[in-house]
Symmetry: C2
Subunit: 313 residues, 2 copies
């Protein structure tokens, strides 16, 4: 089952003719999370042939326009397409007022229930979980209240080794118990240890989204060991003072977070419109951390499963 990230927009506040404002889609085991929803997101979803009704959850990092102004249009379109399934939105307080005002002025109702879960607090906090994943938020340091998000896959059950089941002629009714970690007792009372019948599942994968923020040490704790860290990189390090005064980060600062957090891959985005050639930002980051890629609209990153060394089968 996939864990993949699609970038839909990676400009900062001023969009360009080639870069849309912030939005990205994460598919974690068939749960679809839209993270931020800048103006034009619904058209970006269409351009990349994505069915918008598949979206189950929307995470809005903060209420600057370039991170949420596409939301009302997207919600309206879901309604026009007769959605009935509940939509859960994680957002700073205030979004409900915006939604209600729009619905009132347009004499509209949505065809489906929306549950808005307000983001709160500074530290890392679990805000949602189901049987396969957890979603955490963490406070960033921007000009207005702003949060980042961490999506973590839960550890999957151990995997049955089919050839071993066949070898010991184990009846199917015992499979569930073996998956849960139990040993198997043969008719002759010999015990087959569980690790002879199963292999460990893959190492749980994780993705971290650092929206608009100035650099601070604690970020690397939040991003710790992520498979992919997406970090804003509005400016080159030769504009470090501007980054500080506007509560944004430079490419080098994003890379420093990636290095300290020991992530596998860093994707930088939220580029200032002044950069036509983004390679200067990639090079800036690479002076600190090697595995850096540039966010690009429509590009998909898949996080592959990896296994610990226990499995020799």
């Amino acid at each position: 089952m996939p864990f993949e990230l699609t970038i839909l927009g990676c400009s900062s506040a001023l969009p360009t003719s080639k870069r849309n404002p912030s939005a990205q889609l994460v598919n974690l085991l068939g749960r679809f999370f839209l993270i931020d929803c800048g103006e034009g997101t619904q058209v970006q979803l269409r351009k990349h042939h994505f069915k918008i009704q598949k979206i189950n959850y929307i995470c809005i990092s903060h209420l600057h326009g370039d991170h949420y102004l596409g939301l009302i249009g997207l919600l309206s379109t879901m309604s026009l397409l007769n959605r009935t399934k509940e939509l859960i939105i994680f957002s700073p307080k205030g979004l409900l007022k915006i939604l209600n005002l729009h619905l009132k002025l347009s004499y509209s109702k949505l065809s489906y229930p929306v549950k808005i879960i307000p983001l709160e607090g500074n530290g890392m906090k679990k805000i949602f979980e189901d049987d396969v994943l957890e979603l955490h938020s963490f406070g960033l340091k921007h000009r207005i209240p702003c949060w980042g998000f961490k999506l973590i896959e839960k550890k999957a059950p151990r995997k049955i080794l089919r050839n071993r089941i066949d070898k010991y002629s184990i009846p199917l009714r015992y499979i569930k118990s073996i998956k849960l970690g139990h040993d198997y007792v043969m008719d002759n009372e010999d015990i087959i240890a569980n690790d002879q019948l199963t292999s460990d599942s893959h190492v749980p994968r994780s993705y971290v989204y650092c929206s608009d923020t100035k650099y601070f040490n604690k970020l690397s704790d939040y991003a710790c060991n992520a498979d992919i860290l997406y970090h804003e990189s509005t400016f080159h390090s030769n504009l470090t003072n501007k980054a500080k005064s506007t509560f944004h980060s430079t490419s080098k600062q994003a890379a420093q977070v990636a290095l300290d957090a020991n992530v596998k891959k860093l994707i930088i985005g939220h580029f200032s419109s002044r950069y036509k050639n983004l390679n200067v930002l990639q090079e800036d980051a690479r002076s600190i951390f090697n595995n850096v890629e540039l966010a690009k609209e429509g590009k998909v990153w898949k996080i592959k499963k990896e296994y610990s060394h226990e499995n020799n089968y």
Copy 2:
């Protein structure tokens, strides 16, 4: 001096990957009017290489999302680009609340003054004029309060015939008076009639925008004799009942308005996403009125100057 229309978006409520929601730009003698501002309008303006700070006036027909959800982003961008010039917005009541809520939640201020002039009443009403043009609004019949707009050029002063001025050796200081329609008295007291020294200026041009509306007779009065009428044409006439129940128009109904109003050209737009090939809508309209064109993003229509038959020079 030009009078030209650029279409920036011509989809109805559901945008497609090729058609953006409603927005268009009218340049009337260097005054730039943005008419409606659906999501993505600022990117459309950039794509078509238009400097957004040139916009002096914005007309919002109604508060359905596909006609205004690009406005907050556009106003923010104007501010980020340090606009100082006043912007005048003609809009249904309620827009001020939306703008104020956004500014409050994003802890922002605009760098320039915005004057919002609320649209009111049913009939045709002059809502703005300067030395060269008039802007009128007129009530439409949609599911929520909705207005159309008529932009009318004022009659320009008569034009000096340079060769006649030279022929009678008229000193330059008399030119202003002659432009205003006065005759010229020679030193020998012969009178040269003004129409020997000037020609009539061109016939004033006009443009009419009919936003979302169901068909009603009075529309043709509002659009009377326009050089170009843009009329919504959400459906083909084989969906007349659907048009009626959703308070929209068919292509044939748009054409009927054009015919009754004796306009020179009809442009149809606001197309339902169900139509991939728009020619069926154009053919539908042409069964009633011949000079029909399809709105297309980025396409520019210029309204040429025409002169009455008085001028034989």
